[in-house]
């Protein structure tokens, strides 16, 4: 029973399947298998993929599988989902196997992005598991001839009061779980949780610390060959000529693949591909046409680009007026995801069927892009997610998958593995876009904010596939696909305007999103999108205003915030840090504070930091950070802490060191020398993360919640240490030294 779930077959069966279901289910869920469109939808991703067996499968031998359309990217949610499924099904943690995104096996959950995995997929698995448990109880009640209320579940079995027991595997039959989820589930009382809420060790770590096959880079298919691509030297460069004859004579070379400006070489062994790639690159001549903006003047470049302006928030109370007005402009450069492992993919074309193993964040949209590029039906392409190096958004993963697909088409029957070189990942990944914010506020006589104006200029923050035109390989073809028109991402999540609307309450406020369609550099989604810079700006400016009002920064925030859960994390972080009103840091040290609720509807996070600044060199050093986070019901507290610790350190690296560099034509930050990031000498002494658990509340996610608050907290601590305000990211040693000496 329950063979591999083929979602296409399932959707075809939807009508007829319901009959089987109503026959086999007794009265549990039989009443209404085709709810009217207006009916309330089940929660999370069950709303889009309502069949329970798309999420939970139980085989006759009792083995249990949970499915997610989300991709494990190193956040650890495979373990969290396993906890959720085990908890709601009443089975041991180890009884569950979790299958992650695969276009043949799992639901289409779009992209693994926006800190939405727990909310979308975790919620779906939780509710599906609870409803499956109810179905199993109903089936057991029928077989025992007892009422369902008298039955209990434990250890993967339904147990009758007289001690009779039926295992889940024995109970499940036919298409019993192929039913649509009900809008409401009988979820467990969180007070009775024994697996959810526990710091269960991550299931993927043992393999990763012993040399197990853990990453796509570790996959070896029988007969697999290796490929490397030769990328143009700059955006839009045209391949004028190349000498493949010499390259084809090199050891191991099987094929040189060229289509327009797409150039790749296939070899028997991997290092042969690297050498052949270098030979091919030096034998190719290109016409370079790119005109990149002036990197040093990126703020004025951004402000000069045409924009589409939308007022996204207004608040008006004429009775409130201020006396002192303050203004500030904050900027963010282009920044790189900088995955430690360059992107990699394996593709295998067998007759008309193409399989691509990829570390994409979205197997379905990426499949759509690849199918369009190859001009084949999407159904003939299967994408299977395999973990790669952490991506932190849209890095080179989707492009590498397209590269592999294109090369595999030229190598029918042979699995082709492509891995990018370091300089290719650095130069060709889609960067986090440069941004500018202008803030203006008025303080009233009581030191409260009477008027708040926030303007943000930004590109979109997602140029992810869906269409082929988003992929490098497709853009490089002789018959190229053109880049789709960029679109602003809609609120409430937003893109460039993510977190642009303040959570604080001001009597008068106006927020304008200046969306810039033109993209001088290749850009897309990077962890937290616009929220990183918007929160940096809002929370820096709040500190500037607090200082002007002569108020304590923590007190000043609380004064403007009604949100109770927001207030709780602020108070918790301040208390655990030892924040004191009127405090004074030791010489050359400073304290900083910042807060945000990610997207204004996801997790709450407040971060206090202590910074040391070397006055001679300007070098800033994060000494310690204390964070408080409220992510709703906690599933795995250690996993949540790990995410916040990581967010603080990565955001610190962005904030203190990182900007993509380029000259008039080429990207020049192409490795770790030219794009330096955090190293161990700058790691703080201590990071403490305190969780405010909210039993039974919705999962709020955590992956991106720390990026903005960490940046602003550090910036505020630098100001506290030096008396100078820095508003242009990154806050480098050189800029700090300049500010101190100014």
């Amino acid at each position: 029973m329950n063979g591999p779930v083929d979602l296409n077959r399932r959707s075809l069966l939807a009508g007829g399947g319901a009959l089987i279901v109503s026959f086999s289910l007794g009265d549990a869920f039989a009443q209404d298998q085709s709810p009217p469109p207006s009916a309330p939808k089940p929660p999370g991703s069950l709303a889009q993929t309502p069949y329970l067996d798309a999420w939970i499968r139980i085989d006759a031998d009792g083995s249990i599988t949970a499915f997610t359309g989300k991709a494990e990217l190193g956040q650890g949610f495979r373990t969290a989902f396993q906890q959720i499924a085990a908890e709601e099904l009443d089975v041991p943690f180890k009884a569950i196997n979790v299958v992650t995104s695969d276009t043949r096996r799992t639901a289409n959950e779009g992209y693994t992005a926006g800190s939405n995995s727990m909310k979308d997929s975790g919620t779906a698995i939780q509710n599906a598991a609870a409803q499956v448990r109810e179905l199993l109880i109903a089936e057991a009640a029928r077989r025992f001839d007892l009422s369902a209320e008298t039955l209990k579940t434990a250890n993967a079995a339904v147990i009758a009061p007289d001690g009779r027991k039926l295992g889940y595997g024995e109970l499940v039959a036919g298409d019993m779980l192929h039913v649509q989820a009900q809008p409401k589930s009988k979820l467990k009382d969180p007070a009775g949780y024994s697996i959810v809420g526990q710091p269960v060790p991550r299931v993927d770590i043992p393999a990763k610390v012993t040399g197990g096959a853990a990453f796509i880079q570790d996959m070896r298919l029988p007969g697999m060959v290796h490929a490397r691509v030769v990328r143009p030297p700059s955006y839009g460069a045209e391949l004028l000529s190349f000498d493949s004859a010499a390259v084809e004579k090199l050891p191991g070379v099987i094929k040189v693949v060229r289509d327009g400006n797409f150039l790749a070489v296939v070899t028997a062994k991997e290092y042969q591909a690297v050498k052949a790639m270098r030979a091919l690159a030096s034998a190719a001549t290109w016409k370079e046409t790119a005109h990149l903006p002036k990197q040093d003047d990126i703020a004025s470049v951004v402000l000069k680009l045409p924009s589409q302006d939308t007022t996204i928030y207004t608040q008006s109370d004429p009775s409130a007026s201020g006396t002192r007005t303050f203004e500030a402009t904050y900027t963010r450069p282009y920044q790189a995801h900088g995955s430690i492992g360059p992107s990699c993919a394996i593709a295998h074309q067998v007759n008309d069927a193409l399989t691509v193993w990829t570390h994409t964040q979205g197997v379905y949209p990426d499949r759509a892009g690849i199918a369009e590029m190859l001009r084949v039906p999407p159904a003939s392409v299967r994408l299977i997610h395999v973990e790669g190096s952490g991506c932190y958004g849209h890095n080179g993963a989707d492009d590498a998958a397209a590269d592999a697909a294109l090369i595999a088409r030229a190598m029918p029957g042979v699995p082709v593995r492509v891995q990018w070189m370091r300089e290719q990942e650095h130069a060709w990944e889609p960067f986090g876009p440069a941004m500018v914010t202008k803030l203006k506020a008025t303080l009233d006589a009581n030191g409260a904010i009477a008027d708040w104006n926030f303007d943000v200029w930004s590109n979109t923050h997602s140029m992810r596939p869906g269409g082929a035109g988003s992929m490098l390989a497709a853009q490089l073809l002789a018959q190229p696909f053109t880049l789709p028109e960029p679109k602003p991402l809609p609120l409430p999540d937003g893109g460039g305007d993510r977190n642009a609307i303040p959570l604080y309450k001001f009597p008068n406020a106006k927020v304008v999103h200046h969306f810039i369609p033109a993209m001088p550099l290749r850009i897309s989604a990077m962890r937290a999108l616009g929220a990183y810079h918007n929160v940096f700006s809002i929370e820096s400016f709040m500190d500037e205003l607090a200082l002007a009002a002569g108020a304590d920064p923590v007190e000043f925030r609380l004064k403007h915030l009604d949100d109770a859960r927001g207030r709780d994390v602020i108070e918790k972080a301040a208390r655990e840090f030892g924040w004191q009103k009127g405090q004074k840091a030791p010489p050359d040290r400073g304290y900083g504070f910042a807060f945000a609720r990610y997207k204004n509807h996801a997790a709450y996070c407040a971060i206090a930091t202590e910074i040391e600044v070397n006055r001679q060199s300007g070098r800033p050093l994060l000494v310690r950070a204390v964070a408080a986070v409220d992510s709703g019901q906690v599933v795995n507290p250690d996993g949540l802490i790990n995410q916040i610790e990581g967010a603080i350190l990565q955001s610190m690296s962005w904030t203190l060191y990182e900007s993509v560099t380029f000259d008039d034509v080429r990207i020049t930050s192409i490795d770790w020398q030219t794009y330096p990031i955090l190293r161990f000498d700058a790691v703080p002494e201590k990071i403490d993360v305190h969780i405010i658990n909210r039993p039974g509340q919705p999962f709020l996610g955590s992956g991106e919640t720390g990026q903005g608050p960490a940046a602003a907290s550090i910036a505020n601590a630098i100001t506290n240490a030096t008396g100078k305000r820095l508003r242009d990211l990154p806050l480098t040693r050189k800029k700090i030294k300049g500010a101190i000496e100014a």
């Binding site: 190193g74 710091p199 932190y392 955090l678 161990f680």
Partner: protein, 164 residues
């Protein structure tokens, strides 16, 4: 054809002499732990131990390794019988994506082999070359301290975290 001694075993390897050790380990010997990160010796993801010293396998031609002893993470222990450093990284849950971790562990292992009780400063200085992008640094540091303790006590008590 050359003989390469890896994790205590001799392997006959047929690779061009200029092939970096990393490619031979991964492709010819099918060992997963050492990772390609940059190919430039800038990130440490490829770190292995050669004759007791941490070496960047992505920039070390295989021809230099005839007669030397190469150790990779696979040579230290296994999931079933983890070495102290592997136990320590599991117990501290010292990974996010985990791509950099094998390199971190090998560099730390080389340090612990010559200095069984390194100070915090010595650990940081040793790991300076290795990059982690997820921001797992605090846990990595804790794991190296824990490994140092485990190696000294040969503590065989089970990990404090249990699976329900």
């Amino acid at each position: 054809m050359m003989t390469l001694k890896v994790n205590g075993q001799d392997h006959q390897v047929d690779a061009d002499p200029d092939t970096p050790l990393l490619y031979v380990l991964r492709e010819d010997l099918k060992l997963n732990a050492a990772k390609f990160g940059c190919g430039l010796g800038q990130c440490g993801a490829c770190t292995v131990i050669v004759d007791g010293k941490a070496v960047l396998s992505c920039v070390t031609p295989v021809m230099l390794l005839e007669g030397r002893k190469v150790t990779t993470l696979e040579g230290l222990g296994s999931v079933e019988a983890p070495a102290p450093i592997q136990r320590a990284f599991i117990e501290e849950q010292a990974a996010q994506c985990g791509y950099c971790i094998a390199g971190m562990m090998m560099r730390a292992q080389a340090l612990l082999a010559r200095n069984s009780k390194p100070t915090e400063a010595e650990i940081r200085s040793e790991l300076q070359l290795n990059l982690c992008r997820c921001g797992t640094h605090m846990r990595i540091l804790r794991a190296v301290h824990r490994a140092s303790k485990l190696m000294q006590t040969a503590d065989a008590s089970p990990a404090p975290r249990s699976t329900p």
